[in-house]
Symmetry: C2
Subunit: 439 residues, 2 copies
């Protein structure tokens, strides 16, 4: 009797490009281009630089896998390229999110699969297939991401189901990641994505060379579920509806630049502002009603002393939204952090638990905002689906707009090159190779 | 007000060689040579080979840090050399153990510190200082080991206390390792030590380049203690008696080749056998009374289908002990696994929880064995301290004997070279460099 994890491994090693529905393929390309923009935007962050220096010190400085930042002047092996590119792709908090698992898949799956595909000389279809496999069934960015990476890499390496299972097992025993960094605005979030890639690639390559991994690392009595997930989710999710319910289609794009847990409130506030013509100065106070997971995460980063932290502070994010009429990457700046009117507004925002909204989460990321104006008028707005949600994904035009803005933020001068990469992404399934991809 | 972790970081970055008592220095050399033997013995294991192939694929194939197995024909960067050497040093289950924390320190601290020392050209005194720092305060081989490695590496890099703290923080957020592998005899134990080294070296080098790690990763509300240690040990252990109570002196050597949790019973059984002249054939049944942690770990590996698993099965280990009058590395063989008389004896061994012994653990690793002979005679033996315990460490002659046996097991032909390395280890503090260390 095969375990659920064995069934998953068999599916993951056997999936063929032609088995994947057309809408899944198209969405994968959307998510891939969206990820590219995020990666370009993050490349000058100090955490990314520090990790790149580590690669220069420890890795080969030649190889077929390219780094996002060509200023470094070298390429390297896939494990190291993915380490840097994953860190870069998560730092501006614009990368995608799988709603039901609350995981960011793009930031771990694409950097690993791209680096490995470049190393192996895989074509666009192999790459898409591996990414679709990597997106499936794995929860939580750091701890689940390493497994998704291992599965995607194993798929590119063409491992059979036994080696796929070893790959998943060795990935699982490396699963790690703590939220402590959010309390003091340190760099671990970049470590988590980068290391999920490195560790997952390690798991798959070592499995190919005969390293055996535990066979039931997800559900086993000393496995990930028991050790890392106190309220273990339904184990049947591991292997039910494989090939029917696609994680790619359950992932959402981030339009706003803040933590996804703030987005329901941002969307609701934007609707109130535009519907009733309310201005920043008009608002006396905001109450935002949300689910428990949002309270848990958003409660960790204090008042938001750094740009990164400020994207996790509901009050600050709504202050920015009210003042600018949007919450894009260019709105979270050092100047904004120093803006006394934003800080003062921030203190007039209150988060409350809403039992009904909480019960629907994470199937639905709903929100409700109640604005009380200085005039005494009171406006309330509920949102069921967010901009970028699977039910209302970004259009290709919006994705291109977002990518161009991210490239500008990442100080890319060569806009023609961005246009070429966009064209290549839209034609991903016909690419013979993914080499020479970056700037 | 500094946190405990900050005080630890300050101590770790400030410790000088001349501050270290002479007995700590001498014991560090003993532990180092003991580790060398273990590493040589494991070098041909398939898990080590698979990891070495990964290094060949992903790492630089030139560098100043040497691999245990020169058959590979290349040296590499310290992170990769440590990855392989650590895996190799843990696989024959003969490496040391810190009693109170139930952690194997040598297998993570020495491979990392040696590889980094070779890279930097550090001398013997710097190396000893870093290893002493690495041994301190960190619990559990995989999850704590990464922090010990980060501290030792940061010490060799000469990081200040702030960067030392970042190094510890980044290490902590990568802490991982599950026991699931023991259920199906897969290779994760080697992954755990190897990756603890890689990840800890990553943490320290990246901290030097400006990567910030969480400041309170041990005790913080989203830190390691809360996430990974359900019954959090006394936090004061983090920073109490630093520089007074040395982990090096609290570590014990393994003489028997089995899991340390079987050693109290092996010692007690050997005493009964030698005192009363009992033979394997005389014994009807064995009851061994032990502590809960032993029951937890030894219950995971079934009947011991592989050599590695068999070292974790109390019945099989005591069967070997009774038959051979010892339980050395050469006694755990494929032939032994197939020996029907051992398997039959194994079934007549019973483990029981002993409340008194359990209460003293892990300060004391005590055991009691009751042997009932076919003649009806009954013998009972209690052991308070084990051979190799801090209270009765191996002599230098015994360590040399053990190292030579391990080298033979590792198929080393050049015994002169082993003798040279032994001489070098005894004169460790006067070595100008640790390069050209391996065979």
């Amino acid at each position: 009797m095969a375990t659920r994890t064995e069934r998953l491994a068999t599916w993951a090693s056997g999936l063929q490009y032609d088995d994947i529905p057309q809408d899944v393929i198209q969405r994968t390309k959307d998510l891939f281009l969206d990820w590219f923009g995020c990666t370009i935007a993050g490349r000058h962050h100090p955490a990314v630089k520090a990790i790149a220096i580590f690669v220069q010190q420890m890795g080969p400085t030649s190889g077929k896998s390219e780094l996002v930042d060509h200023e470094l002047g070298f390429s390297t092996s896939p494990a190291f390229a993915a380490l840097v590119n994953a860190a870069s792709s998560h730092v501006v908090e614009q990368d995608d999110l799988h709603n039901r698992s609350i995981m960011h898949p793009a930031t771990v799956i694409f950097p690993a699969a791209l680096a490995v595909a470049q190393d192996l000389g895989a074509n666009g279809r192999d790459f898409i297939t591996a990414c679709v496999v990597g997106y499936e069934r794995f929860h939580s960015t750091a701890t689940g991401g390493v497994i998704g990476v291992a599965a995607a890499t194993a798929r590119l390496l063409g491992l059979d189901s036994a080696a796929m299972l070893s790959s998943i097992g060795t990935a699982g025993t490396q699963a790690a990641g703590l939220w402590q960094f959010l309390l003091d605005a340190t760099h671990s979030k970049q470590v988590h994505t980068g290391k999920a890639c490195f560790d997952g690639i390690f798991a798959a390559y070592a499995a190919k060379s005969g390293l055996l991994g535990p066979k039931d690392v997800l559900e086993g009595p000393k496995g990930m579920g028991v050790a890392l997930v106190p309220n273990t989710p339904i184990p049947s999710a591991i292997d039910t509806d494989l090939g029917l319910d696609w994680a790619v289609l359950g992932s959402s794009f981030k339009w706003h630049a803040s933590c996804r847990h703030t987005h329901p409130s941002v969307d609701a506030l934007l609707q109130i502002i535009s519907t009733y013509g309310i201005k920043f100065e008009d608002i006396d106070s905001v109450v935002t009603r949300t689910y428990q997971a949002a309270l848990d995460v958003l409660g960790l980063s204090g008042r938001g002393e750094t740009i990164h932290q400020s994207k996790f502070n509901m009050g600050f994010v709504l202050a920015v939204t009210a003042q600018k009429g949007q919450a894009l990457i260019t709105d979270f700046t050092e100047e904004a952090l120093q803006d006394a009117s934003l800080r003062e507004f921030q203190d007039r925002v209150k988060m409350e638990l809403d039992e009904e909204i909480n019960a629907a989460f994470p199937q639905k990321w709903q929100g409700k905002v109640i604005v009380t104006c200085k005039s005494g008028e009171r406006y309330e707005q509920f949102v069921e689906y967010l901009k970028g949600d699977p039910q209302s994904p970004l259009t290709r035009t919006e994705i291109e707009t977002k990518v161009k803005a991210l490239a500008q933020y990442g100080q890319v001068k060569d806009t023609d090159r961005i246009q070429q990469i966009i064209a290549r992404a839209w034609d991903l399934e016909n690419q013979d190779s993914l080499r020479e991809f970056w700037l």
